[in-house]
Symmetry: C2
DNA sequence: CGACTCTTTGAGGGGCGTCAACTAAAGTGG
DNA sequence: CCACTTTAGTTGACGCCCCTCAAAGAGTCG
């Protein structure tokens, strides 16, 4: 290991993933200007992993993790019971996900599409970047935003009808991964109906029925299993139910 | 204002509140050792307010706020509709609450009991403590914990029965503000049945019925409107439903 | 003690879960 | 490229839990 530039021939693919993950991470958080020893510590702490569809990311089991999603799409799940999972959030490339080792429930990050993640042990990561207050501020900003989003989701779970929940999720996905054209939005959903149901606190059947109703109402079209075309975003937002008007 | 030690005689009560709030804040976050100018900035940014029961805290309306609850008990609410509020969390003395100015919904912090709060504008607060990385780490730790709690609550809202939700909330409150004696726990609930209902996504009537069932089952006793005696914590936890076993 | 609010209790109805059967889509091996 | 298998999604019938509406009881404050 005298010349770190030379990759170990035994595992060239792994190192390519690692390289790409760190490049994306640097772009997102601007760590390039950091002191060399801090950068070295960050690189030694971060484990880059490529995970296949449906596979769970190998999170540090005994401590909280900070996961940067460099490529792909994932779901964050908590097991309410041994058999039933609750999906807490969907994540896409560029997201930073805080995964507790163990709160009231057990957590896991599962790939919806083949993904590349960079996983840090939170405590040691914080120690390493202790003096880089700019990164700490950005970290707080992202965590705070995630908290606000989680709270908004709680409002959605609280007392909304099945149709309001499905419509809201579709509008969220439209904004996140939708492709706008004319007054329409095309969405290629990376998650299954079951994932959607688990995230909205509904059953697969109910989600499917709501898709059907929205289709019959002419608000959306569905193509294949994952394709959704939002024909009338305005009306769909209406069906998402009352939200306090943003002045 | 040449001698800051001398309080303005026009508002002695306000200044006593301010003083107590900052003392509590210093104790909680260890800001005493900070540079003088940082401490001065923090003090100039923080607005100490005493709020009566049922009153909304005067949050900075146009920017995110960071609120330290020095004394009392509050609820964080989001308005799902103009008439209906969703309670997102209950807070007690020592808590730090992040209140977004405006996310998908509008937020408010409302006192359950007469409270004293210290309110900061988040952005400027972060600028002021930019170099105090120890405080930034503590800030991240608390926000991360709040996020984990919010997620656990989401699991609870997702697909649990009314009784499981009520039982879980009672156990949470027992742990937070309960007084243990023998194998019992005494709780003095600062929030109404309506607040509980709004936080669990239920109606007042359903919450009341669940209290009744738990009482009939001999798991709890109720005294007055706010008093609850948990007679059998074990059995109550059972009724809170399945959680992944903490190894 | 009286007026108010909060809580409790009851009767009835609707939305979503449950169970079941069927259809469509995607992967597999020849 | 096509039959076969497997998985995911759709649709229908039925029942239960919780919301709705209504009224009476308990607690608190003037």
């Amino acid at each position: 290991m005298n010349r770190p530039d030379i990759l170990s021939p035994g595992e060239p693919e792994i190192d390519a993933v690692t390289a790409q993950c760190f490049v994306r991470f640097e772009e997102a958080f601007g760590t390039r200007g950091f002191a060399w020893d801090v950068q070295a510590q960050i690189m030694s702490l971060g484990k880059a992993i490529e995970i296949g569809k449906g596979k769970s990311a190998a999170i540090f089991s005994d401590e909280d993790s900070l996961v940067f999603l460099a490529e792909g799409a994932c779901k964050l799940v908590a097991w309410a019971a041994l058999d039933r999972a609750q999906v807490l959030s969907f994540h896409f490339a560029g997201d930073l996900v805080s995964v507790p080792a163990r709160a009231e429930h057990e957590y896991g990050l599962i790939a919806l599409t083949p993904s590349q993640i960079l996983s840090f042990p939170t405590r040691r990561f914080l120690q390493a970047v202790n003096e880089e207050s700019k990164l700490l501020v950005e970290l707080h900003r992202r965590t705070d935003a995630a908290l606000a989003e989680c709270r908004d989701d709680s409002v959605g779970l609280g007392r909304k009808t099945a149709q309001e929940r499905v419509a809201r999720l579709l509008m969220q996905m439209a904004g996140r991964i939708g492709v706008a054209s004319d007054n329409e939005v095309l969405i290629e959903l990376p998650m299954s109906r079951g994932d959607i149901a688990d995230s909205l606190g509904l059953t697969i059947e109910t989600v499917s029925r709501q898709f059907g109703e929205l289709r019959d109402a002419g608000l959306i079209e569905t193509g294949g299993r994952s394709g959704v075309r939002v024909l009338d975003p305005e009306a769909l937002l209406q069906r998402a139910g009352p939200t306090c008007p943003r002045v």
